[in-house]
Subunit: 209 residues, 2 copies
């Protein structure tokens, strides 16, 4: 939950290489799946040397984790609209939009089928999720500063409450997932937050996960 | 959501065969996975003729769906404690207990890895989920009768809100899943219900999924 949200961005050539390698990693994942993902293929597709990749990422798992986190960061920007309700709505709607797009569906499939049981995929999933939580935390901080949410609101609990019904529908029930789903998730989350059901855990206080 | 929750139970020998075939189906699934699941192997393991199985289930998918629904119905009984909070807590806690047990973990793995992308597995998942919703609906009906919940509370929305954070943790974040998770899900769900965020959808009303 408090992992570093994003390393300082390299600029110039470094940034270009990073972007090319990320794009190649995602493309390889979508084309061939996790099992066939190799640093060699990624390097070739990105038009860089294998050693260039290894200089920045220690193995294909850290590469994959980084590429997925970056993809979601670009695809689901953290909003700052000036109000908690509109912020959460923007966030939930981009999540829905992202995961109902062909790329998003392929990312979900890659993360939840075939390789889903592998510890490294579980770790990647966890890292990407934690990265999202860390990036989105300012949404709650700003709402607290504006007096819209109580100071002891737990950002992680709040965002898990927001995204849980969306993932449930994407992964389990196959109900349609659209703006209605997103807006409904916002209503539930704000109702819970305002009722004090999303407070930070304290000693013996059972509000965390 | 409104599929038939359970066919009329056969009694006597029929019931015994049904139970034996269900148990054998689950055991085969857990031992060998979905790909290797055959009516032949199930029949052999249950000690019955293949034709006996085919007389009751048209194919291995309907057999699997029925066996999983029955397993969850037994493992996660629908409570009737006289109060909505205690009912939901009992339900959420049994869900947690079921899916953190070795059998539950294996069922989750079978439903979400390897075969997860197959349409027949998606259909089975959906059917089992709908069966659960239909069975649990009286919990909400009784709460409405007792005046604990508003009459227009949507049972499906309520139960999805209850289980979503539990599945999120089981499938995505790998946070610990325990009674705390269950109780927290109940708090959020009741807060949302009491704030009117879980009402039945009406014309143009965006509360459904």
């Amino acid at each position: 939950m408090h992992s570093d949200p994003s390393p300082v961005r390299p600029v110039g050539r470094g940034a270009k290489v990073r972007a090319a390698v990320h794009a190649a990693t995602l493309a390889e994942l979508l084309d061939k799946g996790y099992a066939a993902l190799t640093v060699e293929n990624v390097a070739q597709r990105a038009g860089v040397h294998k050693t260039t990749v290894y200089r920045r990422w220690k193995d294909r798992e850290s590469l994959l984790t980084d590429a997925l986190a970056e993809h979601m960061a670009m695809d689901i920007p953290v909003p700052d609209t000036g109000g908690i309700e509109t912020d959460l709505r923007a966030l939930a709607r981009s999540l829905v939009q992202s995961f109902t797009s062909p790329t998003g569906q392929a990312v979900l499939a890659a993360m939840f089928t075939g390789a889903a049981h592998l510890p490294e995929i579980a770790a990647a999933r966890r890292h990407v999720f934690d990265d999202r939580l860390a990036r989105a935390e300012p949404v709650v901080t700003r709402a607290v500063e504006r007096g819209e949410l109580a100071g002891d609101t737990d950002p992680a609990e709040l965002f898990k409450t927001l995204v849980a019904p969306i993932y449930l529908r994407l992964l389990m029930t196959a109900d349609p997932v659209d703006e209605t789903t997103a807006d409904q998730a916002v209503r539930v989350t704000l109702a819970a937050a305002r009722a004090g059901a999303l407070r930070r855990a304290r000693d013996g206080d059972p509000a965390s996960g």
